[in-house]
């Protein structure tokens, strides 16, 4: 028994012993101040390889033509792909642009993101506040609201397509109630509404849970003090809950914007970007150009994705600027 313990200790110590000379050598060469880089290297290498390298590859693809995949087979075309995207009679009218769908998709995304983020955060916050109260079946409702998050986006889209289509469940219900059925996905405005609704429904649970955790971290004694001061519920919400929830709300806001810009699967299955181009978002445009249609235009898709990246970078910098220097205790 004792021998086994000694053996196991020796085994545990082995990697440390083995690596010690290497680390000492590295410290002798680099100096103690640069040693943190050695420890950061594995993660940095992963970020470089999986995040930065693809960006550079994307830049290369955006400056080359052909539908070939291998870099060696792709001729240099300079800024031709960007020129194609920016070829417009008037930037205020997408239909005058050579790649009108790119501009329509960008325009749709710029409307979709604020609407969806506002709806998502508003509803998630309301739900979190309700679920934070001492209501009957609270655990059950928490589970119910989180459940759609676990579903595949395609399943979500197909389920809602089944509900919203001409002969779908919703129209069945309307007919049973003696009301006139509506073809929900055929009209641009209602298709856009349902696009926002379905994506909010699918992801709201995730943000609700984060906000709920934030709400639970607010000390109870602050509320008790407010109660003793006879503060009304609205005042409690605006003067206590909201300010103390700000750090959580900022995280939720950033995550929500990122997820909203990335929206693709649900809408691709639900509306395919239609009616016409009413719900086509920028990621779907990039996907279609680069992968769905033949011949594949990797160059144009790469150029469009880099432009999207540039827009996102600006938004992220603004967010960071707004968030900087603020601390909430």
């Amino acid at each position: 028994m004792r021998a086994a313990a000694i053996f196991s200790r020796a085994l545990a110590a082995l990697p440390a012993r083995a690596i010690e000379p290497v680390m000492r050598g590295a410290q002798n060469i680099l100096g103690i101040k640069r040693m943190p880089w050695v420890f950061l290297f594995p993660n940095l290498a992963a970020v470089l390889f999986f995040s930065l390298l693809p960006v550079f590859i994307n830049i290369f693809y955006s400056a080359t033509g052909s539908d070939r995949l291998y870099p060696a087979d792709r001729p240099y075309v300079g800024a031709a792909n960007y020129e194609t995207l920016f070829e417009c009679g008037s930037y205020l009218d997408p239909s005058t642009c050579s790649r009108d769908l790119f501009w329509r998709a960008l325009g749709n995304t710029l409307i979709f993101v604020p609407v969806q983020v506002a709806a998502m955060i508003g509803i998630a916050l309301f739900t979190a506040i309700c679920l934070n109260r001492d209501i009957r079946g609270r655990g059950f409702f928490r589970g119910i609201f989180f459940f759609p998050v676990m579903l595949s986006p395609v399943v979500v889209a197909l389920t809602w397509q089944w509900i919203l289509q001409r002969n779908g469940a919703l129209n069945g219900l309307l007919t049973a109630l003696g009301l006139t059925p509506v073809n929900w996905l055929v009209f641009p405005n209602s298709a856009f509404f349902w696009s926002v609704f379905v994506t909010v429904w699918a992801h709201m649970g995730f943000f609700t849970i984060i906000l709920l955790a934030g709400l639970q971290s607010i000390p109870r004694d602050v509320y008790e003090a407010a109660k003793m001061d006879a503060a009304n519920p609205w005042r409690v919400f605006t003067r206590i809950t909201l300010p103390m929830l700000k750090p959580t709300l900022l995280v939720v806001f950033i995550l929500c914007v990122i997820r909203s810009v990335q929206t693709f699967d649900e809408l691709y299955v639900l509306t395919g970007g239609g009616p016409g181009s009413a719900t086509i978002l920028i990621v779907q445009y990039i996907y279609e150009i680069g992968f769905a249609i033949q011949p594949r235009n990797f160059g144009l898709a790469a150029a469009a994705s880099l432009l999207l990246g540039a827009v996102l970078l600006v938004f992220t910098l603004i967010q960071l600027r707004l968030a900087r220097g603020k601390s909430y205790d």
Partner: protein, 422 residues
Amino acid sequence: MKLTAILSSTAFGLVMTATAHAQEVTIYCDDIGFGCKTMAPVAERFNEEHPGKTVKLETVSYQTVVEALPVQLESGEGPDAAIITDLGGLSRYYVDLTPYVDAANFEKEFGQTLQWLRGTDGKSKAINGMPTSLTVNGAYVNLTLFEQAGVPVPEEGATWDEWAEAARKVAEATNTEFPMEMDRSGHRFASFAISHGAELVDEEGNPVVDDGLHAAIDKFVEWHKNGTMPLDLWGAVGGSTHRELFEDFLNANVVFYFGGSWTLSRMDTEVGDLFEWAVVDTPCGPSSCTAMPGGGALVGFKHTPNPELVGEYIDYVAQPENYKEIIAAAVEIPAATSLIEEGVDYPTASERTQVALRTFMDQIPKMAPAAYRFQGWRYQRAMMNALTTRISQVINDELTAEAALERIRQDVELAIQAAEAK
């Protein structure tokens, strides 16, 4: 001990030698019609008759064949062979199987469709694969509704307008939801457009956007605006997304459905005797009464290390008795000339389905040259994607028909320019 070691090493050597000589090829196919399921008995027989050689059928979705396979091929990866439908678009990845197959028999049986596999090289005599089956798009009609409405069914040679008129009357009389529907597919629209005089592609392989296409778009949009066709397919969906609503025909919610021969087998299983139906001759436009040909092909790819086994297997499938067996099980139209002439018995299909298949086959000689040319064009998909995307925009008042034509031309030219960049 020594003896055991000698025996073991001998056995190991034999196994390794056998492994080195064993050949295996993987074939991607979906499960629709002429696919993995219907080809499996023939593949099993081939494996039994050819010890040391294995053909492995890998069932994948149609989406995988259309979207993932081209990317795999471009990176030099993927299966040794596959059943594909973008015959011209993938032509640069095909291996020439001429040395491994009975070339004369292939030319005799599959002459015209072999050309589709040769892409833009009009002079090529390469045999890149075997056309598996022909598909023909066409119209399904609910005869019971016609009978209930007391409207005579338009006869052979009836125009698109006459069919639309008759279908409207029937829908009105029988309170059916919609008179006509067409799959949201550039391929289906192409037959309508070519019937109206559209060329789509010229003899030199250049895209053509002409008055015929304009007329077809105008009429098609008008039918969506006046309720002849529902907005659910071409109106509600955007981009290049393919969408079908054949369920509407199966549920008797539409009088006339323009789809294709590949859905025939569903009629027996899902409709049976619930109502009378028929496949009718393709309606005529001012220019022709053409359907669009289509179909798949079993092709081998350049990167395969075993081209001879791929060729050997494809040649085996092309043997009349094997080919006939698969076609009969798939309930599809054969691509082999002799079988088209001789006819095929489909033991699993009802009499009505067999009549429908014959009607589809009768459309083959009537197909316009433009239809064949378009089907074999390398940039057919670019044109079909542009058609679906832009027509939906016209239906939704995002573009005028004139602007849509200009966009279609630009989309296809940009696709060609991108693909041919040097």
